[in-house]
Amino acid sequence: MNKYIKWILGAAVLVFVLVFPFIVSKAYHMHIALMIGIHILLALSLNLVTGYCGQLSIGHAAFYGVGAYTSALLTLTFPIPFWVAFFIAAIVSAFFGLLLGLPTLRLKGAYLVISTLGFGEIIRLILLNWIDVTRGPMGITGIKAPDSIFGLDFANKTNYYYLMVLIIAIVLILMRLVTNSRTGRAWIAIREDQLAAEVMGIHLAKYKLIAFVASAFVAGFTGSLYAHYVRFISPDTFVLSESIAVVIMVLIGGMGTLVGPIIGAIGITYLLEALRDLGQWRMVLYGLILFFCAVYLPKGLMGLYNYALIKIKSKREASVVKANEGGI
């Protein structure tokens, strides 16, 4: 059953994704698609450090923000093309990942979470108060769209969309490679049982740092993508509720899988937009969703799916056994 269905499903999704801009009529829907893309990248990046490596981080918006501001400021202050600023933003953000990872190596549980919270808040406060550089609450306007290559104008939403799809595809491929490797297994081992992982030869500090840095790197260039798409950024975007939204996406989709965060990102971003009229009630809903996920869906929707698969498989095996016994 599985292999064929997976291929068909995958192909269908691919076709849909590629054809999407032509199906869509309203610019608003394109915008949602692009924001979904941004959130997919954010969720995938958080997934590395929290989903695979098990280090719960609720300050992820910090890396997103650092990336956005770095990219915006670079392109506005120096004649640096977007394509370079994009990478520099990622590298700067990765460095911040190191800043968070290093002091928190020995921390677990609540201690770790508080530290990530504190880190996120500190970055937010810096973005808000370092007015000379970041223009504080007024934000940065007039950010340029990416310079065109091959004559493609990236102020155009459709072109930006395909750029985003390409980037997501590359990220997915790389993530699949790294999670199905010695590094990925080391992360999972750390998540499942840190001490056991250590006595098996896994250098905790090294792998935790790699997770933080990789996570921040991706979030960093996602920030750059965001900044050059909406072309205006302010500290309001990079707040705790955004970090929590990303956590919810990873949690509800399924930590430690690649498909999970994607589903979560799509679902939550869509939900947020659909419920835009509800205003403050959206936040109330966040809280409830987070709670119910924690209690009933700790492995997310993917976890539910896998559980269902196992149940179906064992039911099948049971009926095969029964059939054989009947035959005898």
Binding site: L174, L177, V178, S181, R182, T183, G184, R185, A186, I188, A189, E192, D193, L195, A196, A197, E198, V199, M200, G201, I202, H203, L204, I210
Partner: protein, 257 residues
């Protein structure tokens, strides 16, 4: 030739000396047993050897190289791996995944290889998978390689933990009460397993309470009581040792009182 040497190994926690100037050597290819009443410091010694604790005094040597003071992951890559008293398998991962993680030290890829899927990675991963499957087959666990480790019966879980520890191709294998909770048949199987392991060239240091197993497989024993070594010798010698008998029987009398 001495594979493992404990020299004056001591550790104190607060006011309590859990391990008190313990000295013994384990020769290559030996099956060496560490026994003693509960709380005598046996698991603590394991923790000291594997780097989980740092000794307050004294050292641990592996093939004349000091390993005490190293991080646990460094100790593992030097060639010492272990199982735990209360089974620390990755219960939510499959049997195969557990063994693959166990072989972490043996796989030679770096982060860059892993990220970009270099030919080196493909080769190493293939090798690792083959070795893992071979190991599982050797212990008759290959049929369940895709089962969740936590779903295996208790005896099989204990075996899997041993297999996982072997995946790192260690020189010295530390077994912490591997027979706990086993029925006589399972203990018999375990003993055969350990002999098989020794036959492949490994050295085994085992902490165990089940005296049938201990006397049945160990070449040599060291007996601990209140953190101190009170006797060392062959199983026959230990069984006749007065102090050992008193340590065990003395304890028994306390319990009956």
């Amino acid at each position: 030739m001495n594979l493992l040497q404990l020299k004056d190994l001591t550790i104190t926690f607060g006011g309590l000396t859990a391990v008190d100037h313990v000295n013994f050597n384990v020769e290559k290819n030996q099956i060496f047993g560490l026994i003693g009443p509960n709380g005598s410091g046996k698991t603590t010694i394991f923790n000291l050897i594997t780097g989980i604790y740092k000794p307050t005094k004294g050292e641990v040597y592996l093939e004349d190289e000091q390993v005490s003071g190293l991080r646990p992951d460094q100790v593992a890559s030097k060639g010492i791996t272990r199982t735990f008293q209360n089974i620390r398998l990755f219960k939510e991962l499959t049997v195969l995944e557990n063994v693959l993680i166990g072989s972490h030290c043996m796989i030679k890829t770096g982060f860059v290889d892993d990220l970009f899927g270099t030919p080196k990675k493909r080769k190493e991963e293939k090798l690792a998978l083959e070795r893992a499957r071979e190991l599982l087959a050797f212990f008759h666990l290959d049929t369940v390689e895709n089962e969740m480790a936590g779903s295996l019966p208790y005896g099989k879980q204990r075996e899997l933990e041993i297999v996982r520890a072997l995946a790192a191709q260690p020189k010295l294998l530390l077994l912490d009460e591997p027979a706990a909770g086993m029925n006589p048949q399972e203990s018999q199987n375990l003993m055969q397993l350990i002999f098989k392991i020794r036959d492949t060239g490994l050295t085994v240091l085992i902490v165990e309470h089940d005296m049938k197993v201990v006397m049945g497989i160990c070449d040599r024993l060291a007996v601990l009581n209140y953190g101190k070594k009170i006797a060392e010798g062959t199983p026959a010698e230990i069984q006749r040792n007065e102090e050992v008998i008193e340590a065990y029987l003395g304890r028994k009398e306390e319990n009956n009182a």
